[in-house]
Symmetry: C2
Subunit: 142 residues, 2 copies
DNA sequence: GTATAACCTGTACTATACTACAGAGTCAAG
DNA sequence: CTTGACTCTGTAGTATAGTACAGGTTATAC
């Protein structure tokens, strides 16, 4: 079985060398065997694991959560219910983030539309909204 | 004119004392005058400024951006166009974040729906999606 | 045989937004 | 006058996810 150096792995996965060592320190990937020189020796399994990490990241999982997913994945008696629960929680998480952002979007869009985009800032509805204690028709709280 | 201690300000605005000092260090609020003892003396203007900061935060502005908004606000010759530009940029920013999250949401929802929530993890479509190099109908890239 | 590319460890720094002390001094109530 | 609450400065830690060296060793190409 051929082995890969850290640089080859980095290029194949499309991440930085430092990132791989960082993941190792974080326990996301195992410490690989070393050559006599101390150089890390990786195999195809490490590539797969790193690709898994990248994919999980694009789905919104944090490194901590990815670590959990990985340890479930490597437990032979693991049930897919465990994975589904984590994924569902993440989905709820994403829903909440979207809702929060949508509220921000709505409020801000209203203010931007109201702003003439010219004239003194003392009449700017955007600033006014942020200055006001009780608010002129625009909700500011979460 | 009455003055307020940092603790009184913190209570009125609903933030921590340390946060106020942190904002001072960051230049978001000015260094207030001091009593002979060294105690900070705040006025109503400081309360308003801190409330402004809180409101801007709920609209999604970072402290750096809030600093910009504040400095524009305090410039007498400032034009509301400057504010509108910053707000529009932030709005575009929020739109992008929402779109990214929506893509995550879609992909993840599909996977969660496909997962039986029982059985071995080797058959879990969520894990499979993250493992695969080329993907089984589910897009993983941004 | 030498140049240089790649690798090693360890530490420190980036950004964001706080939060938590320690140790000392001050203020207000009883 | 004492006690406890409050405030001061300065430093360090939290979480997240890396990135960037310095200084030294090893591998590889010519």
């Amino acid at each position: 079985m051929s082995t890969l150096t850290i640089g080859q792995v980095a290029r194949r996965v499309g991440i930085g060398i430092e990132t791989i060592r960082f993941y190792e320190r974080k326990g996301l990937i195992e410490e690989p065997p070393r050559r006599e020189s101390g150089y890390r020796q990786y195999g195809e399994g490490d590539i797969e694991r790193l690709v898994f990490i990248q994919h999980a990241k694009t789905l919104g999982f944090s490194l901590k959560e990815i670590n959990e997913l990985l340890s479930i994945r490597s437990r032979p008696d693991a049930n897919s219910r465990e994975i589904k629960e984590i994924a569902s929680a993440k989905l709820a998480d994403i829903d909440n983030k979207i809702n929060l952002l949508k509220r921000m979007q709505q409020t801000l869009k209203k203010l931007v539309d109201q702003c003439p985009g010219d004239g003194p800032t003392c009449e700017c509805p955007i600033l006014e909204a942020m200055e006001m204690d009780d608010n002129g028709g625009v909700k500011m709280s979460d």
